[in-house]
Symmetry: C2
Subunit: 329 residues, 2 copies
Amino acid sequence: MVRILTKENVASLLTMQDALKYVEEAYKQLTLGNAIVPQRIAITDPAPGLTLIMPGIIGGEMSALATKIVSVYKQNPEKYNMPTVLAKVMVQDINTGDIVGIMDGSLITAIRTGAATGVSVKYLARKDSTTLGIYSAGVQARKQVHGVYWGLNRKLEKCKVFDLKKETAEEFKNEIESELGINVEITNSGDDLLSDTDIIVAATTSTIPLFMGDKVVEGTHISSIGAHAPESRELDSIIIKRASLRVAGLKKACLAEAGDYLIPISEGIITENDIISIGDIITGKEPGRTSDSEISVFKSVGISAQDVAVGKLVYDRALEKGIGQNIDF
Amino acid sequence: MVRILTKENVASLLTMQDALKYVEEAYKQLTLGNAIVPQRIAITDPAPGLTLIMPGIIGGEMSALATKIVSVYKQNPEKYNMPTVLAKVMVQDINTGDIVGIMDGSLITAIRTGAATGVSVKYLARKDSTTLGIYSAGVQARKQVHGVYWGLNRKLEKCKVFDLKKETAEEFKNEIESELGINVEITNSGDDLLSDTDIIVAATTSTIPLFMGDKVVEGTHISSIGAHAPESRELDSIIIKRASLRVAGLKKACLAEAGDYLIPISEGIITENDIISIGDIITGKEPGRTSDSEISVFKSVGISAQDVAVGKLVYDRALEKGIGQNIDF
């Protein structure tokens, strides 16, 4: 019996508050050695787009085994009136191997990415943080705000947003103000996000740094979830140097893909040893923030363990609430 | 829209005759460089079983993109009254990346493995072959007979079978005789399969050679589809040495996994250069059998391209015949 969950089913079952707990647990189990994130498989030629096959397993209490298949086809909107990114998550029963849940994966991807930032905020941002500055007003960015909101345990009061597209920024403002009841201010430049904010989130498609690292004020926490290629980055070497906490969703993954860390390493500004995984802080293996003046950086490139955790969460909730359609294969 | 195809749907749509054509095309496109078989991902600990994630893509006219997720949990029958091997195939639209078909994969696995042997028989067995000897009477073995039957274009007349379990052999005899209308003889020893047979198929769970290679008569074609670990094999070094055609489903895959070739290579009996892919013969890059006295060996370890091809076949037929259930995710 396979539980089939549509986009609407997933939306009705998945909350950021829950996702944050599951993603935190995934990071914890990774550090404890109870979770495995195999190198994902990328398929392109002879297809006109990219497919990523991302399986993973998380032991411990969660006991989750799942694979996300996500495709990125840039021609889709124009040529087929379809989204660029399409995804599904196949959840297996860890005890039998049977696929027991198949669900739309687009919201899962956005929520798990927001949850990663949320976990980083919980462990790395100053406890008195109330203000967020966010680069990009796109779909991913909106879930980032939710992640920060729950990472701060609802203490977020204000969000400043910068996006080159005015209309997208207006949509963002309306959506976030109505959903979270916080004040949103649209700024005229990216640098406007750097003052009077406690947390900065970068969620753009940029491949070059978004701001000068020397303009960031002490005590700021920064989360970057865009840019995931060795030669691309959203953060410059200055801010990586200034930060005293340089954290990765998963260190191994960032050392394979994140220019934000790889470029400063290649420049000799930091070494691999200066980077830790967020799971190291969650498990107490490494201290987190120790003063209000520290700058902390969190970089996440997106790993299957996040999808596995959130896919399991959606599946668990679907069973609890009797949502979705059962198919006997 | 996703077409969901149950085990019964797949059984009603999939014929060995079709599968043979699709698997042959997959092998051809692999040699032409239009198909890609990424290294499959294996997930075990902390699960009590093995999951293999096997994506692949085939260009050309077939244009197929799919992933098989197959699990092997040895405790399933005893502990959960479930099959050891469970599988599903997710078929994507190669033009948009969208998952458009999800189907049970157990029959696909058995049929594509039979089809691989069938393709080898078509290209490597003597044209006047009429008799098969097969090691094992299990589920896989039965589909092997179907593969040989169609590979010989229905000229198979007789099948000799050896299995340690008498009851399984009887079931095999009844099933094959009624399905294919050929004569089945149950033998008392493995060596009985070696005389008066044109084709030998090894489809066992053995990890050591099934017979002495010097007992095989000239002109025989041998296909081995069991044993798929570097230290395991169904064929001994003598037969590999005696064969003048040493063929792989995919050379790269056999050099990674097939002890049948890897052990003789390590012994210095053959070199990597003595092995060719079946696609090299299909495309005419290499000659096939050139005399009736040659011994030919085909070794297949199972590659995603076979599942991708047969998954696409089932999906295509389902659309043509209006079979299955559409789900709007």
